[in-house]
Amino acid sequence: MKKKQVETLLYSVAGVGIMLVVVVAFNYVASAFKQRIDLTHDKVYTLSPGTKAILNRLDGPVEVRLYVTQGAKEMPENLKTYAQRVEDLLSEFQQNGKGKIEIKKLNPEPDSDAEDSARLDGVEGQMLPTGESVYLGLAVSYLDQKVAIPFFAPEREKLMEYDIARAISRVITTEKPVVGVMASLPVFGQPMNPMMMRMGQQGQQPWVFISELQSDFDIKQVSMDGEKIPDEVKLLVVVHPKSISDKAQYAIDQFIMRGGKLIAFLDAMSLVDRPANPSNPMMANMPGGPSSLDKLLKAWGIQFDTSKVVADMNYARELSMQRGGAPQLMPAFLFMNSQGINADDVVTSQIDNLLLPFAGTFSGTPMAGLTETVLLKTTTQSQLVDGMTASFSGETIAKEFKPSGTAYPLAIRLKGKFKTAFPDGPPKDEEKKDDKTEAEKKPETKPADTLKETKSENVVVLVGDTDLLYDQFSVQVQDILGQRIVIPRNGNLNFVQNLVEQMTGDSNLIGVRSRAAINRPFTVVAEMQASAQEAYQSKLKEIEAKLADTQKRLNELQSKKEGGQRFILSPEQQQELEKFKHEEANTKKELKEVRKNLRRDIDSLEFWTKVLNIGAMPAVVILAGLTSAFFKRQRAKAK
């Protein structure tokens, strides 16, 4: 009897053990047949059509070597789960790759063959604070092409698919399109100055948008005063063409007539453009002047306002312009949201926030044969303002704000057959015109050589801001584990990359990348801020007017005084001054009150959100409990 009990017990314990093994094994086997349903609204974890199109282009086997440190000890937990996600996404690639993608997972332990292979592939080990080095990177190879992603940074998670798709696209595309960049700003960085180098200073790195474009395109620097755009250039990017010569404009014109595509970043006021050697040190902090392609724009029927920037209350935020300075509302710093971004266009459809500091606007009707698409625009809560005032005092702009009710275009695309802006041939050489040394002059292109019209449809994109390209406004560069990691602050970089990619013909990557900038802010709070700001603005203005009035009266009293008394205050003046001081104190108090009110609405929203969420439902449950208890007792009594 007893023996049987022991047997049963043993059998049960063994049974539990066997069951555990079976369950673990079952999980292990089933993981090979995984299925996933992506419930996210934007299908963030499903390969985008762009990626699928790239995978469809595969005509030979692509090998992906994934280097992951697999020791449970070395790898931090967050990297381990992140590595799992990289693997998951890679297996999505594999499933969609119709057998053309082969994935090899390698564990680069110290002094192993895998470590040597990682080094050869350009995948780098990341030093942890503990001194250990871990790997999470991959290399893609196809025929003799090889591209590496040295390290997957978790901060770039939303760009994971794009990074992999780009790597694959790069190995299967043998030729990179040539993109010319003509810029008056130091977008290519500045080479190291030998003097500075001795002092331990380094040259400037190229701007991130250039270095990002360089990995997909053959970027060629085009001189601002060249007479011809090189033939191999398919797309020309012009950045801040400040005081551009007619000759250069002619070169661009002819480039377009030849079928070359153009993206021009113009600006009414560039924050980045600072005088290099200002005669007056004060000038060093002044924003630079405007830029335009006046001749060309005129020929296309477009005007660009170089004297005014646009302010928009819906896009404004509070910013500190100086380090440690009090934040002030900057209506001309356009923190654009989806309201003004064209959702129907492939370039902008997936972008929902951009930062355009001090942008100019386009107007006019395009010439016959050209159609215009507005890519970016302001809301109707906007107004054209003076650039300098806007840059020095956002508050002034905010106070005097009067919405014009117009949505101003900030970026437009012109499509169609372009006609030349130089029907009379190339412009005369202005500098050499007065020169008598005619003999030295090169033989000019004859008017007959001038192309008058594009043969087929062409595309030009005009953007009213250059600052959006600047690193400080577009990306955050972080030093993570000793590596320079670029994290987009907003959609600026995407916007530029999408534009360039679409214009060079390969649009597959557009849909992949755009996921990066999707966030879901509290719209209610933003709306509240906007409307509250508007409501309090008039009050602010009223207070300001009162102040100005007092000041005026004081001045009047001053002017009535006799010459000798000028510097001594009369009793009336003293009284007025006292009154003024009193009123000033009052006004300051009122102003403070106004600001306080602005905060109060948001605070109260926050408060009630908390109260309702934490307290309301428990209260209902308690009430329900008490009610049910009461009825139970009643019933018990009745019995």
Partner: protein
Amino acid sequence: MNACSNIKTIAKRELAGYFASPVAYVFIVIFLLLAGFFTFMLGGFFERREASLISFFMWQPWLSLFLVPAVGMRLWSEERRQGTMELLLTMPVTAWQAIVGKFLASWLFLTLAMVLTFPVIITVNYLGHADNGVIFCGYVGSLLLAGSYLAVSSMTSAMTRNQVISFILSVVICLFLILAGWPPVTDLLVRWAPARLVETVAALSVIPHFEGFQRGVLDSRDLLFFLSIIGFSLFATGVILRNLRSGH
């Protein structure tokens, strides 16, 4: 058919038992208060200014760690203490019908508590454009997580007639399931166990599987993981109960 109706009967009886005393109300109120407090005060829901429930789901494993064993601790130990288990098992129901019935009742009860957090969904949709697919997925994950903890509690509850011991055992096991993949735990194991075993133990961690749901992806592996824990724990409960019966 008969099995189904038996399970249903037991589940009903059990669920009615919860609401017969104030225990159910007290539990739900505490759960809601804590969930709200963690989400809004510690999770920085408002400070994130983002229309997502990250701060809500982030705390679920920890909240469940203490509250679910509190629900599950009495499942069997109470029956054992009061000596009603023999009575229950002499009724025309099999042991596993009773186990599943009781488990489902408690799970349903936890689901009700979870459903009552719906104001947070309304809030987040009012404040911005929330991704409701992700939120739905997060709730599915939370329920599966709670179900797993509950199954573990059912097992520990069957082991002892003392509810407190059952509670503590269950919290420890669930805590292990949270910590399994964490370096301090794996470091401890790596000293004497082969790497394969350490990997296997680390794979038992609920957090990476729960994270999948939080992201908005229903992955068959994550689903299977939680269902495995539930299935295995309930099986173990059955083995323990069987032994108790034959042991007496």
